[in-house]
């Protein structure tokens, strides 16, 4: 009995050992977890077996011939050199086999392409080198980077054994979460270069192309974690932008959405921080967001990514640097859209006081918040705008309005219409001598409130006094002298009549 037991244990160990070994020597296509991925797998196996079958026939004949029809065995060469019947047969049979392959292939392709009747949509944007996910229906929005442990281990000469890192290079800081048993439509685009989004378990990949939108869909039956990678060469860290999809049951997923929305509401912490705190926290943000291009030591890559150490920008005016970081330039993405005000303040302060720089100054989250475009402020100042300011605002003198208007113009209009109001035709019209600015004041107010083509509507983003001020400023400055004005109270009434701002924006 004991021996039988031992035998079973030994057998179990052998099977276990083989299984572990197989895990590392996987041979075949991943079957995946969706109906589509299983259909693709079946198609793959069908063609594979057809190829194996043909291969055995052709190679078998060839090797038979090589063995038997050799001169050393005394075989004398026949001299035939064509046979029309045979040649027709081996043209027609492959044609029929191909038709047999094309039918199931067409079926699966049509199935893969059908994105209709989806339950929800997720917009996926490829960035160098991270993924951005926007849940179109709920407004949940975040970036997904390579996780920190993998990122440390993957540095040249890190000395960290990748085998000690769980899910090395296939783990992210914030995974994509989807509900099970729902048809999910994905919309793909890219911010910079081509990327391609591939999770083998879902059975397909789709390119993310800047300026274009591609569609694909999935329906995951069971909860689980599914991992993938970018599959279109997208620059130096192409190998380091993995994808992790977690499929959850609907109730868990709903709870996750709720938490995400609550976290997003919290927004940035705008309280002042000591320079030491800013620098300490900035170091982590630099490691995660900046070091891939500017390198961990700030030396950059000459010709492609400028050095931070000793940089004229970093050692120059702090507001100029902040503007560059917020709005981007060339290959540098606009981080104003990706990081919160406190994180931006931290990383900017860090670069000025580390990596070989010793400027010795700091910028506070509040100052960054001022520089951020108002509409994209992460935390909408808790609905205090329209209602809390319902009381009528006192009238102001024209000079006061023009003075206030100048600063409002400086932070809201100048980037398109330029400092002297000369604009940037044909894209951005000049305000100087503009027909609108020098025409009916109500028509101008209407345009600024609601926007037109490239011009955004400022009805929601400016306060009534700021709005009145900037209108008055444009009509009495920048080379215009209409000598009229509008009072904040008038604007306030117009703003109250505007449709409510869409919360999902």
């Amino acid at each position: 009995m004991n021996k039988v037991k031992q035998l079973f244990v030994a057998l179990g160990l052998i099977v276990g050992a083989i299984k572990t070994a197989q895990a590392d020597y996987s041979l075949n296509l991943i079957k995946g977890v969706t109906k589509v991925s299983n259909d693709v797998y079946d198609l793959h196996m069908l063609i594979l077996w057809i190829c194996v079958f043909i291969g055995i026939g052709v190679f078998g004949t060839m090797f038979y011939s090589i063995y038997h029809h050799r001169k050393s065995k005394g075989h004398v060469a026949a001299q035939f050199h064509e046979n029309t019947t045979v040649e027709i047969i081996w043209t027609i049979i492959p044609t029929l086999i191909l038709v047999g392959m094309a039918i199931p292939a067409t079926k699966t392709l049509l199935e893969l392409d059908d994105v209709q009747n989806s339950d929800m949509s997720i917009k996926v944007t490829g960035w160098q080198w991270k993924w951005e996910y926007e849940y179109v229906d709920t407004g949940v929005h975040f970036f997904s980077n390579l996780d920190e442990a993998s990122n440390k281990a993957r540095q040249l000469g890190s000395g960290i054994d990748p085998r000690s890192v769980p899910n090395y290079l296939l783990n992210v800081d914030k995974p994509l979460v989807i509900p099970t048993k729902k048809k999910i439509r994905f919309l793909f685009t890219a911010a910079d270069v081509l990327h391609s989004w591939w999770v083998p378990d879902l059975g397909w990949k789709k390119d993310a192309i800047p300026g274009f939108i591609n569609e694909a869909w999935t329906y995951v039956e069971n909860p689980g974690t599914y991992r993938g990678q970018c599959t279109e060469l997208c620059g130096k860290d192409h190998g380091f932008m993995p994808i992790v999809v977690i499929a959850m049951e609907q109730p868990e997923y709903d709870a996750w959405v709720k938490k995400e929305l609550a976290d997003a509401k919290k927004g940035a912490d705008l309280s002042d921080q000591s320079p030491a705190d800013l620098i300490a926290k900035g170091e982590q943000i630099y490691a995660k967001n900046c070091s891939t291009c500017h390198l961990p030591d700030g030396k950059g890559v000459p010709g492609a990514f400028p050095a931070i150490s000793g940089s004229a920008v970093v050692n120059g005016d702090i507001n100029a640097q902040a503007n560059l970081v917020l709005n981007g330039k060339g290959a540098m993405p606009a981080f104003g859209k990706m990081l919160k005000a406190d994180e931006l303040a931290q990383v900017i302060t860090y670069t000025r006081n580390a990596l070989g720089n010793k400027v010795g100054d700091a910028i506070q989250p509040k100052a960054i918040q001022e520089l951020l475009p108002k509409s994209s402020a992460p935390a909408k100042p808790a609905a205090d705008k329209p209602k809390a300011e319902a009381a009528p605002i006192a009238d102001m003198s024209k000079d006061d309005l023009v003075a206030l208007g100048k600063t409002v113009y400086g932070s809201n209009c100048v980037s398109c219409h330029q400092a002297e109001g000369q604009g940037n035709p044909p894209m951005f019209p000049a305000l100087k001598d503009s027909k609108v600015v020098n025409g009916d004041i109500n028509a101008q107010i209407d345009l600024v409130l609601n926007g037109k083509a490239m011009m955004p509507g400022f009805g929601h983003s400016l306060k009534a006094d700021e709005f009145a001020a900037v209108i008055t400023f444009t009509r009495n400055s920048l080379g215009n002298a209409k000598n009229d004005m509008v009072q904040p109270a008038t604007i306030q009434k117009l703003q109250a009549a505007l449709p409510a701002e869409d919360d999902d924006e």
Binding site: S65, K71, G157, L194, E215, L233
Partner: protein
């Protein structure tokens, strides 16, 4: 050239004439030569040198991928290596290798004294050298060599540093060189065949090169156009490939692959030609289905123009486009199958011997067919959504290039070296080279199928640990394959310097003179051959 010879024939006796019109002395011979054999040698030597340069880059890639984690190079340089490896191997090694063979063999096979346009022949070689050197120089430029893959897809390629305009100009030079070479081959084949050498009597190598030359003329200008659009997008404010200016990044991919797909056939059609030349000689049988081989080659060439977007199944084409390109691509299996069946039927009931060229040719048929099978698998669009841009495709195209084009270039070397040099190569070392190469090439590339199917993307410098084992095996195969090629270098040098010392006959291989004209010439082939056309024309079908 022949006019000059004829003029001298009036004044001197024949042997004196041969002496007077030998090659120039010293280095100048190789720079100013217009002799098709000299230029063929230049091309072949250059291709072999570039094969090792590209090979060293491959070794860098396989060394970095030996283990998970980054050990030797940074990711940007790794990307430069994959890009330059491909460009050097395609434009520096394989294409010039076959142009070298064409230069040596086409005139000798059709009974012509030289190429039709000898001075242009010289120029096309030196323009090639300039192009490849310019490309190589980008490795030392600020921002590094191009690192966006040999396909040079925008917008990524526009992020290249100082190297971009140099790389683009080098592509222009390579294109000019290829077009001049192609014009020369077409002019030679159409105008300089010996009397009685009708088109359907030409050796298949000549046929495949004729068709390849037309492909080159058709598609090299397309590639030149695509890279010129990159140049203007980067430097002159155009937006061909930039959506923000009304362009489309996918447009580049359509243009590139309209060039790129015929381009891969430019590398494989002459391969078919050499295989169809070697196999009958060692099977001691005429080639089976000569005319169907010619038609199959022409069909493949035609199909190569109408299947390009199967490289782009994942870019989001309309359904009609996906279906069309899937069906059209599947069709390629038919003429390719005909070729494989014909080679098998040529061996059938032959009296085969297995010298090194035959070994390489047989392994070409087997391993190229494997690459063809994976090609068929990838033609199925829904499956390609899984295979695309993984190591599965890396395995596929390396099977159709390394144990196909490269093996056949080596087979050609063993096959014709005795004719070129008058010396026999060392058969034992040749066979050792074959077996080492054939085994290691499979250790190198076969596991890459598994890696791709398991989910490893291509063009990544580091990978998740579940891919570690097959990568290590693949790298070991790579190092073995790379080291084995040093044997080939040794054999080539040894053969040039005398080889086994055995005096080779004119036909070198038993009854080879029945198959093709070059075996009726002395070994080594004299500096000038067929100054008077041959009288008897052997044909593939005897």
């Amino acid at each position: 050239m022949s006019a000059v010879v004829a003029e001298h024939d009036d004044h001197h006796d024949h042997s004196h004439d041969d002496h007077a019109h030998g090659p120039e002395k010293g280095l100048l011979r190789w720079i100013i030569t217009t002799n098709h054999k000299d230029i063929g040698t230049l091309y072949l030597v250059f291709a072999l040198a570039m094969f090792f340069v590209g090979g060293i880059m491959a070794m860098v890639i396989r060394a970095e991928l030996f283990e998970p984690g980054m050990q030797f190079v940074n990711p940007q340089f790794f990307n430069s290596m994959t890009t330059m490896h491909a460009l050097v191997m395609v434009f520096g090694a394989v294409m010039p290798g076959f142009v070298g063979l064409a230069n040596w063999m086409v005139p000798m096979m059709i009974g012509a004294p030289d190429m039709a346009l000898p001075r242009m022949n010289n120029m096309s070689f030196w323009v090639l050298v300039a192009g490849v050197l310019l490309l190589a120089s980008t490795l030392f430029m600020e921002g590094g060599a191009p690192a966006s893959g040999w396909t040079l897809y925008p917008p990524l390629v526009l992020q290249t540093g100082k190297a971009l305009p140099f790389a683009i100009f080098s592509v222009h030079l390579l294109g000019i060189s290829s077009i001049m070479g192609a014009i020369n081959i077409i002019a030679t084949i159409f105008n300089m065949r010996a009397p009685g050498m009708t088109l359907m009597k030409m050796p298949l190598f000549v046929w495949t090169w004729l068709i390849t030359a037309f492909l080159l003329i058709a598609v090299m200008p397309v590639f030149a156009g695509a890279v010129t659009m990159l140049l203007t997008d980067r430097f002159f404010g155009t937006s061909f490939f930039d959506a923000a200016g009304g362009g489309d990044p996918v447009l580049y991919q359509h243009i590139f692959w309209f060039f790129g797909h015929p381009e891969v056939y430019i590398m494989i059609l002459p391969t078919f030609g050499v295989a169809s030349t070697i196999i009958p000689v060692f099977a001691r049988k005429p080639l089976f289905g000569y005319s169907s081989m010619v038609y199959a080659t022409a069909s493949i060439a035609f199909l190569s123009f109408i299947v390009w977007a199967h490289h782009m199944f994942t870019v989001g084409m309309p359904m009609a486009g996906e279906l069309y390109f899937m069906y059209a691509t599947m069709l390629i299996a038919i003429p390719t199958g005909v070729k494989v069946f014909n080679w098998t039927a040529t061996m059938w009931k032959g009296a085969m011997t297995f010298e090194t060229p035959m070994l390489f040719a047989i392994s070409f048929v087997v391993l190229f067919t494997l690459g063809g099978f994976t090609g068929l698998m990838m033609s199925i669009a829904p499956s390609d959504f899984q295979y695309h841009d993984t190591y599965f495709i890396v395995a596929h195209f390396h099977y159709t290039l390394v144990p196909a084009s490269v093996f056949i270039l080596m087979a050609a070397g063993y096959f014709w070296l005795p004719k070129w040099t008058g010396h026999m190569y060392n058969e034992k070392i040749g066979q050792l080279h074959f077996w080492l190469s054939a085994v290691s090439v499979n250790i190198l590339f076969f596991p890459q199928h598994f890696l791709g199917l398991a989910g490893m993307p291509r063009r990544i410098p580091d990978y998740a640990v579940q891919f570690a084992d097959w990568n290590m095996i693949s790298s070991i195969g790579g190092f073995l394959f790379g080291a084995s090629q040093l044997l080939f270098l040794y054999i080539v040098i040894d053969t040039i310097r005398g080889g086994t010392g055995e005096k080779v006959t004119d036909e070198v291989w038993e009854d080879a003179h029945k198959h093709s004209l070059e075996w009726t010439l002395p070994s080594p082939a004299p500096y000038h051959t067929f100054t008077t056309p041959p009288e008897v024309i052997p044909t593939e079908h005897f």
